[in-house]
Amino acid sequence: MRFFRQDLHTLTGAYALDALEPGNELTRFNRHLSRCQSCASEVRGFREVATAMAFAATTDPPTEMRDQVMAAVARTRQLPPEVRTHVRPRRTRSAAPWIPWLSGAIATAGIVLAVLFGFAQAHTQNELNQARAQNQALAAAQARVEAALNQAREHDQALAEILGAPHVTLLSQRTSKGGVAVVVLDAAKRQLVVATSGLPALPAGKVYQLWLIGPVKIVSAGLLPTAQAGVTTPVVATGIVKGDKLGLTVEPAGGSKQPTTVPILALPLPV
């Protein structure tokens, strides 16, 4: 669906009340917001109204909550200051504006974002859990994802659609050769986004190829792009059927019609 600027501008109100559903519209609005000063200032004013409404709803929390929060605070490490700000006008073309929303949705859903895009590789599971608790993982993963996405503009629409879907599942698995594959699965639409980190570099003339390995047939899901600093840019795969696993093999340059080597990854996709 296309929106005129006018339409986008009138979304300031709904946006300030968190009433935009994740998806294309939110993506577009975020992008618009990053280059529309007057919209940003309107949103700020509306957020103050929302703040007043929150204060008007003031309710005493259960008394034991205070001790619980303070105890949690005492054992929780704080994040260092961030270098970037929420609105980044100078990066309007390359920024991934859905990320703040995505991170919020996913973080609260309690999904292990820590393993995203290679952040996992240098850590033990324990360290990871700890890191997640501190939310550092989120920041690191965001930075990684954002960097990866800069390379994947042509997929922007499809990516945004999947990543913004209301009920995505995050899956991750180490490959048998090291490194990790991370999948954001939109089961409802039977599509996914996959990125990898830390896969071993291949000799010239070899590529990594993705497969949807089903009970009946195996379908190519495309080649993995060359890794940048160990991270491959996200690839979109569609048309997943029940029973499919996401496979990864090493193939001759240009890819194969069917796998010619043993998969180094076979990740079940619950659709």
Partner: protein, 198 residues
């Protein structure tokens, strides 16, 4: 502020009025440096609005408490990311709270749970009315909401307190999407002026 300028004092920023917004900003800056005593003071000021807004959206007390705890811990953890240029501390904290409540609704299991629990939701203006006590905030918000047209008021309360997307609000009120977008925005402009948000 010029004390002779009654308009200026009447239209003082809603947040500036609110028990010293500047103090809250300062507190948060201390919290960012790991000051747990400052966090306790911040908790005492913000736990009520945080829990209140989450409770309003989610309704279920135990879920609300859980989300409120997550939010307050997130405030502690990410205090260094607070940027006063982007808005006041109260706004920063309540925005996180509202978003996390919405996130919770949108996660699958919570959604079903909430459908169940909100089966007999009272109309939005009753919600506002029931919130009215002696509090200045409540009184002022109530007064300002009353100054809106009915559809503006319903759109805003269904979206913010009800945690509905504007598409859902359009559906609930049987109005076109375009109209809802405009009503919410126009209503917020009126609220902003009424509350004296700068």
């Amino acid at each position: 502020m010029n004390p002779n300028d009654s308009d200026a004092s009447r239209f003082r920023s809603a947040t500036a009025d609110r028990r010293g917004e500047r103090d809250l900003d300062d507190l948060l800056i201390h919290v960012a440096r790991g000051d747990q005593v400052a966090f306790e003071a911040l908790y005492d000021r913000m736990a009520g609005p945080v829990y209140g807004v989450i409770r309003r959206v989610l309704r279920d007390p135990s879920q609300s408490e859980e989300v409120a705890q997550e939010v307050l811990l997130e405030v502690w953890r990410t205090a260094a990311r607070f940027d006063p240029a982007m808005g006041g501390a109260a706004t920063w904290v309540t925005t996180i709270a509202h978003r996390r409540a919405i996130d919770r609704i949108r996660s699958t299991t919570a959604a079903a749970d909430r459908e169940h629990k909100t089966a007999d939701v009272s109309p939005p203006h009753d919600e506002v009315a029931e919130a009215v006590e002696a509090s200045l905030d409540r009184e002022r918000v109530r007064r300002c909401l009353e100054s809106l047209t009915e559809i503006q008021r319903e759109s805003i309360t269904l979206a913010y307190y009800g945690g509905h997307s504007y598409r859902q609000v359009a559906e609930l009120l049987n109005v076109t999407l375009g109209a809802i977008k405009t009503r919410i925005r126009d209503g917020l402009i009126r609220m902003r002026d009424c509350l004296g948000v700068s």
